[in-house]
């Protein structure tokens, strides 16, 4: 990590416009008190201990209230008691109950990413978790429990790999969710140098954990869903067999060039990010550089960690925001609708913030004004450095940029203590856990309890949530692209299996509508079907079943 140093833009004069969202960390009140263990607290001897993991908002029991899944790491000295991934059931009253054990999800290890999708189309969302070691596929049995089906699904590997990002996607449009996994790098404790002992083991003159530079690259994998609960590794025939000289992290699958087929974006650390374009014949072609989304605007590799997907300028196309290392600017790439991107970081005034290493992120409308904002969490990978250089703190605040609606963003410093209180965070997920019509934020903190930022949104803005259920398409509708037209504008969103940093958002797409009271929806289903729903009323969740229309919401209730 690290390398490129960008000169921050000067901060412009504040707009003076009020920002209605206000975030309070209610994790403790909600019962989310168990710390996420991930390596030592005050130093990191290995990069494995530093990268952390992701989290998810997902409705595992289909009750219409999103639940919480948090990954966890361990320690080389031995996992402390209680170190495990955790599933928290939403009690529908602002609190959660830890149901990890009864759900069969207790697991200790170096977990990294989580992606969600109903891979067997049985109506219940399944879980896939990446690990340093053996990745795990958990089938949701529909009765509140999960079963580790990694082996029977054909996903067990004989070699130790560092599974990082992952995403379910239906790359061949057969209605069954396939699986893409990025592998960060080749790592083994025997051969990785100790802090300060190798070429890439110093930062600012301080001995730190080594890598990723200098460590061998990983290879990414694509697994085809055979439709019978098993997967086949098709990495080689699909074009992923070679090493891409790449340290891949978060994976997002979406139809960036709007040809009806899902593409794959891999945020990449210290190497060019990758954009694999679906060739419609079971293969992919990597075109990240020429499509303008692999590098900084000056052609340099950055330290891609997290990925936000959204339509910041309301032109109906999916843009990409990538978080990076401290002293470098995060990057916003504007999609022209053909899968060609312009780096608009500076015109968007996002270059003002380069102080922190940034991780989980989203292009999400936090104040429901109809213009998606940008939020990301931060935290150092070198906690030992702050002892000598306090200007590089281990814990740092969350960053929120509000969308000014003119192509530019403005950093908001007063969106509540949930944003300003420093943490060393990694994954984060966006969703409406209290079903009150705004987006809340779940954040995974290193060696600390998670944060649950409740959005106490003021104002009179309207909103609309859209839940999709596939029929010919995969049941999770992963890969669907929804266009919402309101107030003369059009906003694109997509159903994603992973984004942010190794995390998964609430699958109910949330559109802030500003003062608009209706929206016209166009749904591009993964199957190729395009459906239109004009004049959908605001301030509600609608569930749409592919080729069947609007159906009753499952268990939905307003708080």
């Amino acid at each position: 990590m690290g390398g490129r140093i960008a000169t921050p833009q000067a901060k412009p004069t504040e707009s003076g416009r009020p920002f209605d969202a206000y975030f309070t960390d209610v994790a403790a009140l909600a019962g989310l008190t168990a710390p996420v263990i991930y390596g030592p607290v005050d130093h990191k001897d290995y990069i494995l201990e530093a990268n952390g993991c992701g989290c998810a908002f997902f409705d595992y029991d289909n009750d219409g209230w999103i639940d919480i899944f948090l990954l966890s790491g361990t320690r080389l000295s031995g996992a402390p008691p209680g170190a495990s991934n955790r599933l928290y059931k939403n009690n529908r009253d602002g609190t959660f109950t830890d149901v990890t054990r009864q759900a069969g999800l207790e697991a200790v290890g170096w977990a990294n990413g989580v992606c969600i999708g109903d891979y067997n189309n049985d109506g219940y969302e399944d879980l896939f978790c990446t690990y340093y070691g053996q990745n795990r596929l958990y089938r949701n049995l529909g009765n509140g429990t999960f079963k580790d089906v990694t082996k029977e699904a054909g996903l067990e590997t004989s070699e130790v790999r560092w599974g990082a990002g992952c995403s379910f996607l239906d790359y061949n449009r057969d209605g069954h969710l396939d699986l893409f996994v990025s592998n960060y790098l080749q790592f083994d404790f025997e051969h990785v140098p100790k802090p300060g002992s190798g070429v890439n083991c110093n930062w600012k003159g301080i001995p730190v954990n080594c890598g990723p530079r200098g460590l061998p690259f990983g290879r990414h994998s694509l697994y085809r869903n055979n439709g019978d609960g098993t997967f086949t590794d098709v990495s080689i025939e699909s074009g992923f067999g070679k090493s891409w000289s790449n340290y891949g992290l978060t994976v997002v699958a979406a139809d960036f060039n709007e040809d009806g087929w899902p593409d794959i974006f891999v945020a990449s650390d210290s190497t060019p990010s990758l954009l694999f374009i679906n060739q419609h014949d079971g293969t992919f072609k990597e075109e990240g550089i020429e499509r303008g989304v692999a590098l900084s605007s000056d052609g340099m590799e950055q330290s891609g960690m997290g990925v936000g997907i959204g339509d910041y300028n309301l032109d109906g196309h999916l843009d990409i925001f990538v978080t990076h290392f401290t002293e470098d600017s995060d990057a916003l790439y504007h999609n022209d609708g053909t899968g060609n991107f312009d780096d608009t970081t500076l015109p968007a005034r996002l270059g003002v913030e380069t102080r922190f290493t940034s991780w989980g992120t989203g292009i999400v409308d936090l104040d429901n004004d109809g213009w998606p904002d940008i939020f990301f969490v931060t935290g150092s990978v070198y906690p030992e450095v702050e002892k000598q250089f306090p200007q590089y703190p281990d814990k740092s605040p969350r960053i929120l940029f509000r969308n000014l609606g003119n192509g530019a963003f403005e950093e908001i410093a007063n969106a509540g203590p949930g944003v300003t209180t420093p943490h060393s965070s990694r994954g984060c997920a966006f969703g409406d856990f209290d079903n009150d019509g705004d987006l809340d934020i779940l954040i995974l903190n290193m060696n600390a309890a998670p944060s649950l930022l409740r959005n106490d949104l003021k104002g009179t803005h309207h909103w609309l949530k859209v839940k999709l259920v596939g029929t010919k398409s995969n049941r999770s509708a992963i890969g669907a692209r929804v266009l919402a037209r309101y107030s003369g504008r059009v906003q694109a969103q997509a159903v994603l299996s992973q984004s942010s940093y190794f995390s998964c958002n609430d699958s109910r797409l949330h559109f802030g509508l500003g003062q608009a009271t209706t929206a016209d929806l166009t749904i591009h289903w993964p199957s190729g079907l395009v459906e239109k729903y004009p004049g959908v009323k605001c301030d509600q969740l609608i569930t749409i079943r592919e080729a069947h229309g609007v159906i009753p919401n499952a268990g939905w209730a307003r708080s």
Partner: protein, 500 residues
């Protein structure tokens, strides 16, 4: 270099060549007396003969030669001038007067030498003399022309070789200077300065192994010239031998603790090896020895900037500027850090100040390509901040920068970026290609070229884009390898500071 005896013979030879004239007997006898080194008798004979034939330019010339040999330069000059007043192109008199003027590289010799060369364009000695006088006058281009026509003559003349080499360096032809300094070093092997000059050129030409071959024999334990040690340090660092580079630079600093250049070189090493605190400590030691040195403040400011201690960095740059406001470099450094810092409490007036500072610098240095480039960059950044398109002023400034310095690839990269923001992909492509001509490894130009080609929609560029992507990937890989090699060493402070 030119000994008077040599030149006397050269002049006398010219006189002998003109013997088919009256009064041949007295002339022959005078020449004979000169050859036998009876100069007083020769002078008496010349004076006697002149009483009889006062308008015989040959006699005046012989008198001048004798006086010249006897060291009466002023009288000799008068005699030669009298001869030339009687016969303006008489070679012996011309050469006699030239010889006298040449002693002090007097520019009055130039028209005389030109007259000699008009009569004999292949006269290498005249070319050599003319070259040396032109060099003395600072006319290196003219000097080089004449050195080129006197290669045989200068081969054994260290002064001429040195002047020739210096002129080649001054006219930005260092590669051509290298063999000249090699000749010079071989001609006077016991002398150190030609080796040092040669090594400087080799290091600048990135021929560091060759430079070390020249320098290593000089790196004896008793070497007391810190410049040699510092230069060798630079070469060792370039070939990856950082420990030796640090050791030699340390010796240089110990030998001359009052030379800021060595501390600055040490700061550069620390910046390259991410050893910022070590560098800061060394700059503190330097400032203890040479307080008030602006270069040390600039170096320390840059090191502070790398540690995000922007307040300290800015304070150092301000101090440097206060100490020496003419240093454009301090402005440049300040620009770098000013944009690195979090300016959360700053708004446009500060930036306007930066722009006004550069405007002032541009008034003082209108031919500075770097300043024009920085100005354009600042304007573009400001345009980004305000959300407006780049201004004509930014574009013009960048264009001026590349006009003044065509190989300033950063300015070309900026131009390409500006053109792309306007959708002028053809012009962007042109700038990228020009940048790559000057710097084939310029990854920014390569990346912009890929994007501009793709966006231009021109058919047939598909193959080129694929090749360019491959080239960019290769450069990225080699860049990583170079960085890895560069970072092999980091500096650790010893318990006792070396310089205090």
């Amino acid at each position: 270099m030119f000994h008077s005896r040599c030149i006397a013979l050269f002049v006398l030879g010219a006189a002998l060549a003109a013997q088919a004239q009256p009064a041949q007997t007295s002339i022959a006898s005078i020449e004979s007396l000169i050859r036998s080194q009876h100069y007083d008798l020769a002078l008496q004979a010349a004076l006697s003969a002149l009483l009889k034939t006062p308008n015989d330019f040959r006699l005046w010339t012989l008198e001048g030669i004798v006086l010249s040999i006897k060291g009466s330069s002023h009288d000799a000059m008068g005699a030669f001038q009298k001869a030339l007043s009687l016969s303006p192109n008489y070679p012996a008199a011309l050469k006699g007067e030239v010889q006298l003027l040449y002693q002090s590289r007097d520019k009055r010799a130039i028209p005389l030498l030109e007259r000699i060369l008009k009569a004999d364009p292949n006269d290498e000695t005249a070319h050599e003399m003319l070259a040396n006088i032109e060099e003395k006058q600072g006319n290196c281009e003219a000097a080089i022309d004449h050195f080129l026509l006197s290669t045989e003559a200068i081969r054994t003349h260290p002064g001429s070789l040195e002047a020739y080499g210096n002129c080649l360096v001054q006219t930005k032809e260092p590669q051509k200077a290298i063999p000249i300094f090699e000749q010079l070093a071989a001609l006077i092997p016991g002398s150190t300065y030609p080796k040092y000059d040669l090594a400087v050129l080799l290091v600048e030409a990135k021929q560091n192994d060759a430079a070390l071959k020249v320098l290593e024999p000089l790196l004896t334990p008793d070497q007391a010239d810190p410049d040699i040690l510092s230069l060798a340090s630079q070469a060792y660092e370039a070939v990856g031998n950082t420990p030796q580079a640090v050791s030699l630079l340390h010796q240089a600093i110990v030998l001359n603790t009052a030379n800021a250049d060595y501390y600055v070189a040490f700061a550069a090493l620390c910046l390259d090896h991410d050893s910022f605190q070590v560098g800061i400590d060394m700059m503190n030691a330097g400032l203890f020895r040479i307080p008030g040195n602006p270069s040390l403040y600039i170096s320390r400011g840059l090191l502070y900037g790398q540690l995000a201690e922007f307040d300290k960095a800015e304070a150092d740059f301000n101090t440097a500027e206060r100490l020496d406001g003419k240093q454009s470099i301090s402005l440049y450094a300040k620009d770098i850090v000013e944009f690195q810092r979090d300016m959360s409490d700053k708004t446009h007036p500060d930036k306007a100040l930066s722009i006004s500072e550069i405007r002032a610098q541009l008034r003082a240095h209108p031919d500075s390509a770097l300043l024009h480039f920085l100005f354009a960059k600042l304007l573009v950044n400001e345009d980004s901040d305000t959300g407006i398109k780049v201004t004509d002023e930014a574009m013009n400034s960048a264009l001026l920068a590349v006009k003044i310095q065509p190989d300033l690839v950063q300015a070309r990269d900026l131009l390409a970026s500006m053109y792309m923001s306007y959708g002028k992909y053809g012009l962007a492509i042109e700038q990228c290609r020009l940048a790559l001509q000057y710097a084939p490894s310029d990854r920014t130009a390569l990346y912009h070229l890929i994007i501009a080609l793709r966006r231009s929609g021109q058919s047939g560029e598909r193959d080129e884009i694929e090749k360019l992507v491959k080239r960019l990937s290769d450069l990225q890989q080699s860049g990583l390898q170079q960085e890895t090699a560069r970072k092999r060493f980091k500096f650790v402070e010893q318990p006792s500071a070396p310089v205090q």
